[in-house]
Structures are given as C-alpha cells and as structure tokens.
Amino acid sequence: MEHNGFIQEQKTLEGDLNSDTSHKNSVDFLMNWFRKRSIFVLAYGTGCGAIEMPPTFTSRYDAERLGIRGAATPRQADVIIVSGYCSYKTLRRIIRTYEQMSNPKYLLALGSCTVNGGMYWD
C-alpha cells in the first residue's frame, strides 16, 4: 500500500463513515430529522466571543428561521456555546452547566480564545 503521508493517515483514522449502519432504520431517521430542525442553544457567553452571538440570533442574520432558539436554562438546551477564554473558575461552572443538560447534547467552542487561548495565548 503506498503511503501518501498525511492524507492517507487521516483516511485510516476516519474510517468509512458511510458504512456505519447502526443508525439507519426509520425511527432513527425520524429522530434525527426532528433533532436537526429544532436546536435550543444555551449561549454561554464566557468571554469576548459573546458579542458575536446576539447578531446571529436577532433580526439581521435571523437564527430562528432555521429553528434555532435561545434556551433559558441548561435543562432545556441541546447545544451549549462556549464563546471565550476559560479560567479555572469559569471551567468549573461550565462543567456543572454541561452536566445539567440532557442527552443528546453538544458543546460548541466559538472563536480562537476557546480553542487554544487565541490572543491570550501568551
């Protein structure tokens, strides 16, 4: 087998996503259809990235036409958006909030500060 470097290695790691048949019957299709049409977002405005979220949810780039709504509590949310740098204090609270959400749940990291420190890296 020829070795194409990074791309080949990535392919062996990803496997073949289309051959995953564990979620393919009609009930799963129905559940996924409902789940993707209605997403309740807990906009957890941790840091500086919080300013990007209100324009997305309000009148100009309306997120509600896609079924995305802001959730009032983590109990009602599907997705939590962490949008800035996390100190230890913030991290403890994010973990508590994430544990209050019910499955299936997703966490979205917004911005470079959340991913690797961003402009606060040093």
Binding site: R35, S38, T73, Q76, S102
Partner: protein, 295 residues
C-alpha cells in the same frame, strides 16, 4: 361514540394550538423585520423534546406536576363544546357547565406549582409564587365579567350562552368584554402580564427545571389549553360558532388581537400587575355589570 368525539377534539386542539403558536412566532418576527421559523416549528420543538434520551426527575411529585397540568388542560377542553349547537364536538359539555370549566381552568397551574416546588430550583419557586399571585389578581375581573354574562343570559350552559346572542356580547356589553379581555391577555401569557414565565427574568420560571419529556408535555398542554381558552372566549363574547371555519376565524382574530398587545407592551412587575388588575379591569367589570343590570 363519545370517545371518538373526545379524541377528535383533542387532536384538533393540539394541531390548531401549535399552528397558532407557529403563526404567532411568524407574526412577531415580521413585527421585528425578520422572517420567522416555518409554521409547524412548534410541533417540531415539542416532539424533539420527547426524543431526548433522558429527563432528569426529582421525585414522584415532580413527575406529577406536568401530568396534573396536562390533565387540567385536557379536561377543560372536554367540557367546552366547539359549536354552539349540535352534538358533534360537544365533548362532555352535557355533563358540566361553565362553573365546572372555570374550576378546571385553575386545576392545572395549582398542580404544576406543587411539582415545581419539589424541583428545588429557586427560579422555579419564584416563578410559581409570581404566577399564583398573578392568577389571583387575574381571576377577579374575569370572573365578574363571566358571572355577569351568565346571569344576563340566564344560563350557565356554554352552548346556550353562545347561541342565545343576537348581537355579539362583546358589542352588547362592551365594558364586560374589555375587562375580560384584559384578563385574557394575562391568561394567554402575553405582556404586560407575563412575568412568571419570562425567559430573561426568572429563566422561564416554572418551566426552569423541566427537561425532556416533561417539557414536551408542558408545551403540548400549553397548546391545548390555549385553544380551549380561545374557544371559551368566542362562545362567551363573540357569538359562538356554527361551523369549523367560523370557529377558526373567530379564534384566530382573537388570538391576533391578544398577541398584538403582547408584542407591543413591556412587562409589568408582579406588584404592578396585581395593582393594575385589581383596580382597572375590576372597576370596568363592576361598572359594566351595574350598567347592564340597571338598564
């Protein structure tokens, strides 16, 4: 046969209630210069919550809270006939009159208050204390107006009140209608009387600790209860309905009127709301009652 009748009433109330909420989100969006979600978005929201894999529960009373609320909503619906005459879609209205309906309307929120109390969330407790205080104030003008209508029509049977109106009660007794309408705005959860469930103030108040299937049940009962209350107001004040089209048209017009109020006004605090409701609509209702019975 009555079982099929009740089942059809339930399905109609569920479907129409959620469609009205979808239209409400669209119309509010147009007020705010944007497009809204598709009309069936409220169905999808509530059914998605049924598909959540787990729902956190805090004991048997917490479990019973939404159940009691749904029971109250569905029983209220069953005792209100859809049409002012005839046997179809009359539900259980032959066995209970307006007194039973008025009693069942408060059963739901009271049961839910017990359930929310065991949830342990302080926002839930704040929400239900505010909600029950508001309910106490809201009932006063509504009951004065409804009892006035009952005595002026000479009957406590909803179908009889609906069919006995030559001109709409809203135009014959306008003060009673205005008092009942102000209360009705609060019953539909619209501004300026919507502080118990406000998302930015009490983190959705009573609903703050419910997740998964409990929340789905709360949303479904909200749709059913909305339709039941709209039909009741149509029968009491807008002359009832003799066919589906007329019923849908009248409930839709009333619904648009109520949510237009909600979209425009800000929110009263609970003491402000109670103060207003005990003084202004009650005064209007009493004035309307005196005017109607002395002439």
């Amino acid at each position: 046969m009555i079982v099929i009748d009740l089942l059809l009433m339930l399905i109609v109330a569920y479907a129409v209630g959620f469609l009205y909420y979808g239209l409400y989100r669209n119309i509010t969006a147009r007020f705010q210069r944007r497009f809204g979600p598709p009309v069936w978005q409220s169905f999808i929201d509530s059914i998605k919550f049924f598909f959540k894999e787990d729902s956190i529960s805090h004991g048997w009373m917490f479990y019973l809270g939404p159940v009691i609320m749904t029971t109250g909503a569905i029983m209220t619906l069953f005792f209100i006939p859809f049409f002012s005459s005839g046997n179809s879609f009359s539900g259980l209205s032959a066995y209970g009159n307006l007194f039973v309906v008025l009693y069942l309307m408060v059963l739901g929120p009271l049961g839910n208050a017990l359930g929310v109390g065991t949830g342990g969330s302080p926002f839930g407790a704040m929400g239900i204390t505010r909600g029950l205080t508001r309910l106490f104030a809201m009932e006063l003008p509504f009951y004065i107006a409804v009892i006035a209508i009952m005595s002026l029509s000479g009957s406590a049977d909803i179908a009889a009140i609906a069919s006995g109106q030559t001109t709409f009660n809203a135009f014959s007794y306008p003060l009673l209608f205005i008092a009942a309408l102000i209360s009705f705005i609060g019953m539909m959860g619209q501004s300026p009387f919507d502080v118990p469930g406000a998302p930015v103030e009490v983190y959705s108040g009573p609903a703050s600790e419910f997740s998964g299937k409990f929340l789905a049940l709360l949303m479904s009962q909200s749709a059913i209860f909305t339709f039941a209350k709209l039909v009741l107001m149509v029968h009491l004040f807008l002359g009832g309905a003799s066919g589906f089209l007329e019923l849908l048209l009248k409930t839709f017009v009333l619904f648009i009127l109520v949510i237009s109020f909600g979209a425009i006004y800000g929110r009263f605090k609970t003491p402000q709301a109670v103060d207003f409701l005990i003084k202004v609509p009650t005064g209007i209702a009493v004035a309307g009652l005196l005017l109607a019975t002395w002439s």
